[in-house]
Symmetry: C2
Subunit: 114 residues, 2 copies
Amino acid sequence: MATVADAQRDVDHPPREDIRLAGVLAALADPIRMRVVRELAAAGTTKSCVAFELPVSKSTCTHHFRVLREAGVIRQSYRGTARMNDLRRDDLDALFPGLLAALLLAAGTEVDHA
Amino acid sequence: MATVADAQRDVDHPPREDIRLAGVLAALADPIRMRVVRELAAAGTTKSCVAFELPVSKSTCTHHFRVLREAGVIRQSYRGTARMNDLRRDDLDALFPGLLAALLLAAGTEVDHA
DNA sequence: CATCTTGTACGACAAAAACCATACTACGAG
DNA sequence: CTCGTAGTATGGTTTTTGTCGTACAAGATG
């Protein structure tokens, strides 16, 4: 369960108005990070970092999640030792209408054809 | 006017099926290249490299146009000494429906709010 | 408390990217 | 033919990025 201590360990996220399109695109241009976003969108709920089973080391994993967070693509919060990740769908849709949907669709069809 | 010699100087473009979403996103994550694409979309026609008046040197300019071409975002062809550039709207729309429109819209609203 | 699980911090490294200057090619115009 | 214009090629520098390993921190669990 999330505790008060968890909340204090929480980390900074850019406010909605600071999210830049260039940052979002750079974040999603990496295949590992795009995969994370796709799995997050498919799940529809928060997922811990370890749940993704990414083919990289722990520290690289931390790096990728930080890039996604600083770009404003995901929201992170602690729950015990786990860091839960969550798509910032609301903010992205408000800022860039249709973009997330088009990106997820594009990524999906590309995988299907591979 | 375009000549036979012009055609022989033409350069390789990736076929539609080789265009990767990651490459397109990486290409568009650079502000200079996004600006080129936006101006191309707004113009609706081909434009020579020099017509963009980009704030970088000639060689850097060549570099950015090559990245866009190799990502499959633009088509280039010679006309005299000028290299004409053209958005690959048809291919992008076929591969990634709605993506280009969402990107252009997003880039446009971002500039408006700046 | 001891230990396991999760994740972070830091330092290092190689590869890629963005940039420039210089030298060059190719076409067009005088 | 000569010169100007448009762009390429090459090679260099600097910055950024993706990756890792090691050491550490904090909560969960025995």
